[in-house]
C-alpha cells in the first residue's frame, strides 16, 4: 500500500500490526492475534475518520493516487472484445489516449480515455496521461466512426492536462482540443463520461463534453491545478490547499453547480483500497447512464447535449 501524506498515522498503525504478525510468524509460541486485531480495528476507525470528510486538497491527492484504477483497468474490467485502434492518420499514435471498439454488456461501443500508466516505464510511455494533439485527433476520428456506425461513446477522463510541449504547440494543441470539443457536440449518438481521477482543464473537456457526466467520489475536475492556481493568484505554489478549497473542484461541489450528473461512491479509503469494487460501481453508473439515453433520436441527443452546456452555471452554487 502506498500511503498519502495525510494517511501517515494510519500507516504507522497498520505497520505495527504487520510487524506484530511478522514476529508471530517467526516465533510460533507468541500469541499476538488479539493485539493485532485491536490494531486493525483502530486502523479501520481511523480510516473511516480520515475519509469521512476529506478536504479538497486531500481529494486531489486521492484522485492522483498511483494505485487508483486507471483507464486501462476499467476497460479490461468492464468491456469485452476490446479492440484498440490507433493513430490520427496524420502524424502519430498518442499513447496518452487509448481507445477503440469494445462491447459493454454485449452492446458495441467506442470507448476511450487518458491512461496515466502504473509504473515508470508505462508512465513514460503514456506521457503521464498528458495527450498531444495526435491524441485528441485520434479521439475525433473515433468519435466520427462511432457516429457513422451509431455506437455510443464512453469516455474515461483522467489527465493532469494536455501536454505543454514544444511539438504539441507547433502541431496545434489548442486547435485539436477545440475540434474535439466541437466534434463531441455534434455526435448523434449517446456520449457519456466518467471522471475517474483527475479532470485537468482543457485536456479533460475535450473528452468530457457529454450528455451525461459522472465523477468518482474522490475525483477532481478543475480549470487549473491547485498548484498552478496558487502560483498565479497567491504568487506562492505552496498555497495549493487554499487554491483547492477556492476552486470548488470536488465531485460534491460540481454536482451542486450542476456541472456533473452523478457521483459514483468509492469504497472506504478510496478507489485505491478497493479497485475491484470501484470498477464495478463505475460499470453500474455507465449502464444506468446509457439506459437513460437509449432510444433517443440523434437530433434529440445533440439538442440535449447543447442545452446542457448552454444552461451550465446559470444558477451558480445555489443550483
Amino acid at each position: 500500500m502506498n500511503y498519502l501524506e495525510f494517511e501517515k498515522p494510519l500507516a504507522e498503525i497498520e505497520g505495527k500490526a504487520e510487524e506484530l504478525r511478522a514476529l508471530a510468524r517467526a516465533n510460533p509460541s507468541m500469541d499476538v492475534a488479539k493485539e493485532a486485531e485491536g490494531l486493525d480495528r483502530k486502523a479501520e476507525t481511523m480510516l473511516k475518520d480520515l475519509y469521512k470528510a476529506l478536504n479538497p486538497w486531500q481529494k486531489c491527492q486521492v484522485a492522483r493516487h498511483q494505485d487508483r484504477p486507471h483507464c486501462k483497468d476499467y476497460i479490461e474490467g468492464l468491456f469485452t472484445e476490446f479492440t484498440p485502434l490507433a493513430g490520427d492518420r496524420n502524424f502519430a499514435d498518442d499513447h496518452a489516449i487509448m481507445g477503440g471498439l469494445a462491447r459493454f454488456n454485449d452492446q458495441a461501443v467506442v470507448v476511450m480515455g487518458q491512461e496515466k500508466g502504473h509504473d515508470t516505464k508505462t508512465r513514460i510511455e503514456r506521457n503521464f496521461g498528458m495527450a498531444r494533439p495526435e491524441g485528441y485527433r485520434k479521439a475525433i476520428r473515433l468519435m466520427e466512426m462511432a457516429d457513422r456506425f451509431r455506437l455510443p461513446v464512453v469516455t474515461l477522463v483522467d489527465t493532469p492536462g494536455a501536454y505543454p510541449g514544444k511539438g504539441a504547440e507547433e502541431r496545434g494543441q489548442a486547435e485539436a482540443i477545440a475540434r474535439a470539443t466541437e466534434k463531441s457536440l455534434m455526435l448523434g449518438v449517446p456520449v457519456i463520461s466518467v471522471v475517474i481521477g483527475e479532470g485537468g482543464s482543457g485536456g479533460a473537456v475535450a473528452l468530457a463534453t457529454a450528455n451525461r457526466i459522472a465523477m468518482l467520489e474522490h475525483s477532481i475536475y478543475s480549470v487549473i491545478s491547485p498548484e498552478g492556481c496558487a502560483s498565479i493568484l497567491w504568487k506562492d505554489s505552496d498555497k495549493m490547499r487554499e487554491a483547492a478549497e477556492a476552486l470548488r473542484l470536488t465531485a460534491q461541489d460540481l454536482q451542486k453547480l450542476g456541472v456533473i450528473d452523478r457521483i459514483v461512491k468509492e469504497p472506504l479509503g478510496g478507489a485505491q483500497r478497493g479497485r475491484k469494487e470501484t470498477i464495478e460501481a463505475v460499470g453500474k453508473a455507465i449502464e444506468a447512464m446509457l439506459k437513460e439515453l437509449s432510444g433517443k433520436k440523434p437530433e434529440a441527443l445533440i439538442k440535449d447535449r447543447r442545452e446542457k452546456f448552454l444552461d451550465m452555471g446559470v444558477k451558480g452554487l445555489a443550483a
Binding site: 514544444k166 494543441q173 489548442a174 486547435e175 457536440l185 487549473i224 452546456f309 452555471g313 452554487l317
Partner: protein, 296 residues
C-alpha cells in the same frame, strides 16, 4: 543618508521623469522605445508609427476604427450571476471585478456590437485584455452566445477579435465549461450558413485558444501576437530548454498551418470586408473611408 538623498534627489528625479513621460500625452513603444504622441498613436490604432508594433487596443477604440463612421450599436449581454463560487484568493473576486470595472470603465472583458463595415452588416465581438487579462468566465460565454444569436437573427457574419490569458480562474469549473458553451455559439453561426471569422490579437492563450479562437472559417492574426495553448514559461519549465525566437507568435503559427493570414491592424478592415462579401455572395465593396450609414 541626508536630506539631499532622502528628499531633494527623489523630488528632482520625479520632476525629470515626469517631463520625460507626461501622463496620457506620450506613450513609449515597448518594442522600439520611440515616444509616441497620444493623438498620433490613436490615429494609427495603437500601432507604433516607427516600428509597427501592435499595442493593445480597447474594444471600443477598435470598433470605432472598424465600423463605418465609427458608428455601432452595442448588443446587450445577459448578466451572469456574480461570483458563483464565492471565490476568494488574496482578494475577494467581486473586489477584483470592481477594480477592473473602475479601471476600464467597462462592465466586463468582452464587448459585442452590430454595425456596418464598408456597408457590410456584421456582428463583432472584441475581448479586452486589460480587463482581468480578458479572461473567459460566464460573462464572456454569455457574450459569445448573445453575439451568435444576434448574427443568426439578422443573418450577419460574426467577427471575433480575441485577446485573453485564458479562463477566469475565479469562476472555477464554470469558466472551463465556457469552452463547450462558446463552441455551441460557433456552431449556431455555422449552421445558419454564416461566416465566422476570428482575428487573434496579442495575446490569445489557454482555453480561449482551445475553443472559439481556433474554430473560425477563416483565422487571422495581428503581427507578432502571442497565440498558444500553454504559455512559453510553462513549456520552458516542462521541457527545460529555451524556446526558439518567435515561438508561438502569429508568423510562427502561420508557418505551421494554424492561421490563414497575418494582417496589419490598419489593413484588417479592408481584408475582412473583401472576405466577408465574397463568402456572403455580395458584390465588391466600395473602398475607402465611408461615413456612418444613414439612419432609418
Amino acid at each position: 543618508m541626508n536630506w539631499i538623498t532622502n528628499y531633494v534627489r527623489p523630488k528632482i528625479n520625479s520632476l525629470f521623469s515626469r517631463r520625460e513621460t507626461p501622463d496620457n500625452l506620450w506613450t513609449k513603444c515597448p518594442e522600439c522605445g520611440t515616444m509616441l504622441f497620444h493623438r498620433e498613436l490613436a490615429d494609427n490604432q495603437n500601432v507604433c508609427t516607427s516600428c509597427d508594433h501592435h499595442m493593445a487596443i480597447s474594444p471600443r477604440e477598435r470598433f470605432t476604427a472598424l465600423f463605418d463612421g465609427g458608428i455601432f450599436t452595442e448588443v446587450k449581454v445577459p448578466e451572469p450571476i456574480v461570483d458563483p463560487l464565492h471565490f476568494r484568493d488574496q482578494k475577494k473576486y467581486p473586489d477584483r471585478l470592481k477594480a477592473a470595472q473602475k479601471a476600464s470603465g467597462e462592465r466586463e472583458a468582452m464587448l459585442v456590437a452590430e454595425g456596418e463595415i464598408a456597408r457590410t452588416p456584421i456582428v463583432a465581438v472584441a475581448q479586452d485584455f486589460s480587463f482581468m487579462a480578458g479572461s473567459m468566465g460566464m460573462f464572456v460565454g454569455n457574450a459569445m452566445v448573445a453575439a451568435a444569436q444576434a448574427a443568426v437573427k439578422h443573418k450577419r457574419p460574426l467577427v471575433v477579435f480575441t485577446a485573453a490569458g485564458g479562463a477566469r480562474m475565479q469562476e472555477g469549473i464554470l469558466s472551463l465549461m465556457q469552452m463547450p458553451r462558446t463552441t455551441v455559439a460557433v456552431q449556431m453561426v455555422r449552421e445558419a450558413g454564416l461566416p465566422y471569422v476570428t482575428v487573434l490579437t496579442h495575446p490569445t492563450t489557454g482555453g480561449v485558444t482551445a475553443s472559439y479562437a481556433m474554430l473560425g472559417d477563416i483565422q487571422m492574426a495581428e503581427p507578432n501576437a502571442l497565440i498558444c495553448f500553454a504559455g512559453p514559461r510553462v513549456i520552458e519549465q516542462t521541457i527545460r530548454e529555451k524556446l526558439p525566437e518567435g515561438f508561438q507568435r502569429a508568423e510562427y503559427l502561420l508557418d505551421h498551418g494554424m492561421l490563414d493570414r497575418v494582417t496589419h491592424r490598419k489593413e484588417l478592415k479592408d481584408e475582412l470586408v473583401t472576405i466577408l462579401r465574397m463568402l456572403t455572395g455580395q458584390p465588391p465593396a466600395i473602398k475607402g473611408e465611408l461615413t456612418a450609414p444613414a439612419t432609418k
